[in-house]
Symmetry: C2
Subunit: 344 residues, 2 copies
């Protein structure tokens, strides 16, 4: 249609002008939702059904007068972290932290060199660590995550992130995040969404850096928590981390964590594994327009291809349920032009 | 100083213009902090030291270039609810809900009429209820707060609030809130603060109405929580409330709740009882400019005068500690021109 055509058919043109005026009037309530603008804000997403699904969802819930319009306050999007926002292969980042920290603390714990699973960690014998089972892992987590104040733990995490490197990518873990997901977070926030992290990982392992890396402030991070105790040290209060789990924010725990921390049901959920199944179910069975999206790791060349058989980030039940529940299954190989951000 | 004087001394006038221009340039970061503007936004607060303390704190942390300047993201203020934002006399509102709910549910529980503490509630024999002690209270709370979905509980709270009336004021409980505190919440938010509730009350008892009444969204409410369980009902998920406490957000639990839910240390805390002691300690012992304020119920004519001897909202230790820690002790009789809002 040429410009002449537009002016010859004033009907749609006038309508567009009214829509634009309404958009201006409604201010922040109205987000940019045309494909053209989305292209500008989702540059690392390939053209195709996944990108279209994201853009049309955002258009539906942010366009005033749309039957699917959702007020800004209720635009809550929840994101899993491991495998959804950053790489979880070849092992969960928090597990790498545990291993490095056992090594860092070993000189204060001479008994560890003769005791599993610590011995296995110190000798690099991961088979022995695995043989210690869930109880062994629990011991490792408690030895490295408890018995210190919240401030001390936060410092330990931040200090570790400065020097630790992803074993394969040889980059800081905070650079092993998915560039397209960073763009999606920005796009949703620009469209009036709150973007929350809902992760099985430790809440205090994430909070020190999520704002810097993802633009997600500490108060919008939900994760697993340990018991804490308020103590007074020479009239200055501290919070001590106790060697006891308080809440595990994984699988059926995720909707519980969402209700507890957020108190509203999200309208969009993004995950990549069966750990996110219930979060996806909970989010997408509310009334009105909803979006569930699964990040499917299909790219063995640029990242890792894994799903039903993987020990880390197994995606099986959620994949089976996706089509019945109308979830979008993203295909990393097809849908992402870029995986990781350029080096800073 | 007359207008002529102002123009004859261009120094301060020019400075004021520069400050105003900077304020405009820095946009939302810069809050109105002059006494004159504060008067417009805190109309129910009497002139005097308490109001001055509020205004000077806000000016200190919001003025760009001030040595006490705090970025918007870190402007977290926490408010106790019972006795700080709304009336807790003659009994906690949530206890009135428990009593009314026992009556409402009694026909489904014929056994209650012969069993304490239910019998006592149904017969209005509060002495018998009190005699059942903490365990009795726990039983009442579980019978009225658990065994239903989160959505059902939220509906029960909202339904109750429509008809329930404060026994003395004969107004809906959501109108028995303190007008000066509503203004303070607005003033802080207009100054870039997040205003969080941190209450010993049930989180799901508060969330259905805090946004409407206080302007505090559900995700900024911290309170006591019950265990929940994710369940699938004919492929539609629900969250069931279990008869077990998850977390008690009172006394030494308040800093724990703050760290767990917010993940940052607040810079201002508002409370009225020893239940807020640790929250005040935790908030005001962080670095930089801090504000702790105690609402002291001193007005027997317009509300209730109570502190050290009260069973509800006892204020004793926190009052003793206030001057050493530099907390502002507000005097309701002196500092508040109005207690409750005008009827709508």
């Amino acid at each position: 249609m040429t410009q002449g055509n537009i002016f010859r058919s004033p009907g749609p043109w006038a309508l567009a002008a009214v829509v634009a005026a309404l958009a201006l009037l409604s201010g922040c309530e109205q987000a940019a939702t045309t494909g053209q603008v989305a292209e500008a804000v989702l540059p690392s997403w390939s053209d195709g059904p996944t990108r279209d699904a994201l853009v049309s969802f955002v258009a539906d819930v942010t366009t005033s007068g749309s039957p699917h319009y959702v007020p800004t306050a209720e635009r809550i999007a929840v994101f899993d972290n491991d495998g959804t926002l950053w790489s979880e292969q070849p092992m969960y980042v928090q597990l790498a932290f545990v291993i490095d920290r056992v090594e860092a603390l070993a000189s204060d714990h001479p008994e560890w060199k003769d005791r599993q699973p610590f011995k296995g960690v110190l000798e690099g014998d991961l088979r022995a660590v695995a043989a210690s089972g869930e109880h062994g892992l629990f011991e490792l987590v408690m030895a490295t995550h408890a018995g210190m104040t919240t401030a001390e733990f936060s410092d330990a995490v931040e200090g570790w992130l400065v020097t630790a490197r992803h074993p394969k990518l040889q980059r800081p873990y905070t650079e092993c995040v998915y560039q397209p997901m960073l763009e999606l977070l920005d796009y949703l926030r620009a469209s009036g969404f709150q973007t929350w992290i809902v992760s099985g990982g430790g809440i205090d392992f994430m909070r020190p850096w999520t704002e810097r890396v993802y633009g997600v402030p500490p108060e919008q991070v939900v994760g697993s928590t340990m018991k804490m105790q308020f103590e007074m040290r020479e009239s200055a209060p501290v919070l001590m981390r106790l060697p006891e789990m308080d809440f595990i924010d994984d699988k059926a725990g995720k909707p519980v964590g969402i209700h507890k921390f957020i108190g509203r049901r999200p309208i969009a959920a993004f995950g990549n594994s069966d750990g996110d199944l219930q979060m996806l179910q909970w989010t997408t069975s509310g009334p009105g327009r909803r979006l569930g999206l699964i990040v499917h790791h299909t790219d063995a060349d640029r990242e890792v291809a894994y799903d039903r058989e993987s020990l880390i980030g197994r995606l099986d039940e959620a994949l089976d349920e996706a089509s019945d529940r109308g979830w979008v299954v993203m295909d990393m190989k097809r849908d992402w032009e870029i995986i990781f951000p350029a080096a800073p």
